[in-house]
């Protein structure tokens, strides 16, 4: 019955590619002649998973409102600091040992940290993420740790205990 397990992700891929094609062509009917072929080829090309981790697509969808919220909070936060006459910033570099395994989970985490309020990924090396923090008095660490747990859930891996981050 293992082939059934492969059907659902494939169906999802076809659905996503079809949606993108529909959006790009504004739903022009004749375009589906080419679009149909393109969707089949794209699905075949995407057959090999980009990562050997199991991605929970449901969790991925559930992450969207979280990112939207964090992204808006981040934008409001930095806009406020830029516009305020006293310009309340107190930047610092922080190096954190990632609690995620190497590969996609770490890369995903690195990209998403830049969306959080007040943090910006700078380097990812030897399982350690160096990030630039706009205000060291802000509660950036709480958001960072929460995001890490959410990424772990997304890739269905446990969070490892790797110790605390350090200020540089």
């Amino acid at each position: 019955m293992s082939w059934i397990k492969g059907i659902i992700p494939m169906f999802m891929k076809v659905l996503v590619f079809a949606l993108v094609w529909w959006v790009m062509t504004n739903g022009a009917l004749q375009s589906w002649l080419i679009g149909g072929g393109a969707i089949v080829l794209a699905t075949l090309a995407a057959k090999k998973p980009a990562t050997h981790f199991t991605i929970r697509y449901f969790k991925l969808v559930m992450l969207i409102p979280f990112f939207l919220k964090q992204s808006i909070l981040g934008g409001v936060d930095v806009a406020r600091r830029a516009l305020q006459p006293s310009m309340p910033i107190d930047p610092i570099l922080v190096e954190c040992p990632l609690r995620l395994p190497p590969g996609s989970p770490q890369v995903f985490m690195t990209n998403m940290v830049s969306l959080l309020p007040g943090t910006l990924s700078a380097t990812l090396e030897n399982n350690r993420l160096k990030m630039h923090v706009l205000d060291q008095q802000s509660s950036y660490m709480k958001d960072y740790l929460l995001l890490e747990e959410k990424v772990a859930e997304l890739f269905s891996v446990p969070v490892q205990n790797t110790g605390a981050g350090e200020l540089l």
């Binding site: 949606l19 993108v20 529909w22 959006v23 790009m24 062509t25 504004n26 739903g27 992204s71 808006i72 981040g74 934008g75 409001v76 936060d77 930095v78 806009a79 406020r80 600091r81 830029a82 516009l83 310009m87 910033i89 107190d90 930047p91 610092i92 570099l93 690195t110 990209n111 998403m112 830049s114 969306l115 309020p117 007040g118 910006l120 990924s121 700078a122 380097t123 160096k130 630039h132 706009l134």
Partner: protein, 97 residues
Amino acid sequence: MIDFFSMLFLLAGALFFLAGTVGLLRFPDLYTRLHALTKADNVGLGLMITGLALQAESLSVAGKLVLIWGLVLLAGASVAYLIARGALLRGVLPWKR
């Protein structure tokens, strides 16, 4: 009514772009400027996209706008990382209060 909300979103978006630009000019170093550019402009673009999507003549045009926003978000996060990494590896020290 829709025009009113469109205007509201577009103006709010412009405010965030303005704030991002003010940050770019006022903030003291490369890293803090990256914060201003990536985060404020992401929200500004999101608001503008929302305002424009309300005016879209079909659902697929609105979808295209949202797709653009998502791609800009991803590209922005990756490029900001690459610039910050490049600067750090070249020994550009962050500004401190």
